[in-house]
């Protein structure tokens, strides 16, 4: 070290010595701290990569869920619901019931008319019986001549019995038919009420379901837009985070340059004027002036590095926190499409329950209709049975006619004695005509009813249609249930992934505390430099000679960043040496990019 002239004062020497001591190991403090953060940055970088990948997966899951609840599956469910709505409309055709009721009314009134006809038959049977008795009396009166008439009387009485039996059967059948028709009418009306009730609730439920599906589709589209927008925000936040992470490398260079400058300053302070790096210094005043400006400059560089690092770390923290909150928001918005909200079932679950209810109602109605079909079958059977009995009566009518002809012939053979029997034969013949007339009326009545209609109703094509709709609704319930299950599973996956990711991001944000060690180390170095600046300033005489240390120019050459050069110029009151290096953004790549 060069000798210290007494005239320059002990205080300058002392300040220089203090400065040399103060600068000793100055850079080591913050550089060690900086290097200590390297592993933290690498860990953060790896985490950021994982967060990016997982947030993309969560976005894809959320988008998949919105697609599921707005896409093809829901459109298909809507179409099926609409088709069933139409089919139910056909089944609920009230006119069909009215036709059935009219038919039943006609058959019922036919039963009543048959009763009347059967009363006429009863009179006919009575007359026939009387004629039989009269024939037997007349036969007895004629003695041997009327012996053949006794057989005639037997035949007449036997026929009267047959007619009585057949008409009795018809009467019973007619009564049964009337009762069946009344019962069928009542059942039909009840069934109609049930059908109307079922169809009204089915229609309203289906309309509500269709409206809910439309709402779901709309909400899904909105959620999809939101997921898409949030995904873009996540990408933007990751981009900010990637940019902020690079400040670790950027300030490294600035810190290394400060540490280097501090070592040079220390060497200047140690060597003194005319020696080493201070070879061009005339005296200790100039040395101290150089040290003062170098220390002040490095304090500014450290302040700049610390500020930029702290800002980058804050941006990184904000970006990570944003990713967490965006992912949570995305998951929450998408999951609400499938999950229960505020104690309410999700839309798909509501639809599933509604459609299930309709299917159950239709199934009950189908059972009613099966019962009705059985009644109709009985009606058809009764009508057919009566036709068969009428056939028997027709045969009896023919027999009466033959007996009447036989009686007329026998009476003619008997001569005058048989005149009375001729009268009886005429009466019997007249009764046969009456019987034929009554039989024709019955046949006409039975012919007015189409038994085939009842048979068809009994077979129940309506039942088949109902079964088809119920089966369709069952399939629909199954497909909506599967859709709901899939949506719920995806929603759970989205939420689980989002919760896990946001938890890991929160932990990563909390781990950013490592930054404070470096910020504190840099702040401590700034404080020490400020103290040296103050001490050197106090030691320098007022109006001291100011000169530019040659090492300052070397420092300027050493810088790689405009930011360092600007700090340098501002600290030393220089201007204009920093050239504008922005490339312009004509190519849309940004000011910091230039393609040659």
């Amino acid at each position: 070290m060069a000798a210290i002239p007494q005239s320059e004062g002990d205080n300058l020497l002392q300040a220089a010595q203090l400065c040399a001591g103060g600068l000793e190991g100055l850079g080591l403090g913050f550089l060690n701290s900086f290097h200590g953060t390297e592993k933290d940055f690498l860990r953060l970088g790896a985490q950021l990569e994982g967060f990016s990948s997982r947030s993309s997966q969560t976005s894809a899951l959320a988008a998949g869920l919105t697609e599921l609840t707005s896409g093809e599956a829901v459109a298909e469910a809507s179409a099926k619901l609409a088709a069933n709505l139409e089919r139910l409309g056909g089944i609920c055709d009230v006119a069909a019931t009215d036709r059935q009721l009219a038919e039943l009314g006609r058959v019922g009134s036919m039963g009543a008319k048959l009763g009347e006809i059967m009363n006429d038959f009863a009179r006919l049977v009575k007359h026939l019986s009387m004629l039989g008795v009269s024939t037997r009396i007349e036969s007895a009166r004629l003695g041997d001549q009327g012996a053949g008439f006794a057989t005639l009387a037997d035949d007449v009485e036997k026929l009267a019995g047959k007619i009585g039996e057949s008409s009795g059967k018809i009467l019973v059948s007619a009564n049964e038919l009337s009762n069946q028709c009344r019962s069928a009418s009542i059942s039909l009306k009840q069934m109609d009420e049930a059908r109307k009730g079922c169809s009204i609730s089915a229609l309203s439920l289906l309309e509500a379901d269709l409206s809910a599906l439309e709402g779901l589709t709309r909400a899904s589209r909105e959620a999809a837009d939101s997921v898409s927008s949030l995904s873009r925000s996540v990408v933007s936040s990751i981009s900010e985070a990637v940019l902020s992470m690079q400040f670790h490398d950027i300030i490294r260079q600035q810190l290394e340059h400060v540490a280097e400058a501090a070592e040079e300053a220390r060497d200047i302070a140690r060597s003194g004027p005319g020696e080493g790096l201070a070879a061009e210094a005339a005296d200790w005043e100039e040395v101290c002036d150089w040290l003062h400006s170098i220390a002040d400059l490095q304090r500014s560089q450290l302040g700049n590095a610390r500020t930029r690092f702290a800002k980058a770390m804050q941006t990184l923290e904000d970006s990570l926190a944003s990713i967490g909150s965006q992912v949570r928001e995305m998951a929450s918005g998408a999951a609400s499409l499938a999950a229960k909200e505020a104690g309410q079932e999700g839309v798909l679950a509501q639809i599933e329950a509604g459609v299930g209810q309709i299917a159950a109602s239709l199934r009950e109605y189908s059972q009613l209709e099966t019962g009705m079909g059985s009644i109709m079958a009985q009606v058809a059977e009764s009508i057919a049975g009566m036709s068969s009995i009428v056939g028997e009566i027709e045969e009896v009518g023919s027999e009466i006619e033959l007996i009447a002809i036989n009686a007329s012939i026998k009476a003619a053979h008997t001569g005058d004695e048989g005149k009375a029997l001729g009268v009886l034969a005429s009466a019997i013949q007249k009764l046969s005509v009456d019987a034929r007339g009554q039989t024709a009326r019955i046949l006409e009545l039975l012919g007015s009813v189409d038994a085939a209609t009842f048979s068809a109703n009994a077979q129940g094509d309506q039942g088949a249609r109902l079964e088809a709709v119920v089966s369709g609704l069952d399939a629909e319930v199954a497909s909506i249930k599967a859709l709901d299950h899939e949506a719920a599973t995806q929603a759970a996956m989205v939420q689980s992934a989002a919760e896990e990711l946001s938890g890991d991001i929160a932990a990563a944000v909390a781990s950013l505390d490592f930054r404070w060690d470096l910020i504190d180390a840099v702040t401590a170095a700034e404080t020490r430099l400020q103290e040296l600046v103050d001490e050197l300033g106090a030691a320098l005489p007022p109006g001291h000679r100011a000169s530019r240390a040659p090492t300052l120019m070397q420092m300027l050459q050493r810088y790689t960043m405009d930011e360092e050069r600007l700090v340098h110029e501002q600290a030393l009151g220089l201007s204009g040496s920093v050239t504008t290096t922005a490339s312009g953004d004509d190519d849309g790549l940004g000011d910091n990019v230039e393609l040659f």
Partner: protein, 119 residues
């Protein structure tokens, strides 16, 4: 799949470059300086993104060495550095650099450049 080499003495910068490129579907080879890059370079590298100031061999020297290799004579080489001085850029351009990006970069910027020069 295109292969890109990232050369930087900062592990965290290499990590961010690799993350950005891999995310976009590129294969990435990392090298810690120019010397390391030359030892790892092969015919399969389609592009190089290099820092300027590195120990052992700096970015300009690396570009010159690469341009002397027939396999790398025409591949895009982008400088990714904190250096922004026009003189240094000119030096890079003269050595054969395709472009210059001043740190810090945004992922979308880097990808736009890569897509543009690899087209």
């Amino acid at each position: 799949m295109k292969t890109i080499m990232t050369v930087d003495d900062s592990a965290s910068v290499r990590q961010m470059v690799a993350f950005t490129l891999k995310n976009a579907g590129y294969s990435v080879i990392e090298a810690s300086d120019g010397k390391d890059a030359l030892s790892k370079i092969g015919a399969k590298v389609d592009m190089v993104i290099t820092d300027l100031n590195m120990p052992n061999m700096d970015g300009i020297s690396l570009i010159k060495a690469l341009r002397a290799m027939p396999a790398c004579k025409f591949i895009p080489i982008i400088m990714l550095t904190t250096e922004s001085q026009a003189g240094r850029k000119q030096e890079g351009k003269d050595a054969g650099a395709t472009g210059w990006i001043v740190k810090p970069f945004k992922p979308e910027q880097l990808l736009s450049v890569v897509q543009k020069v690899l087209r």
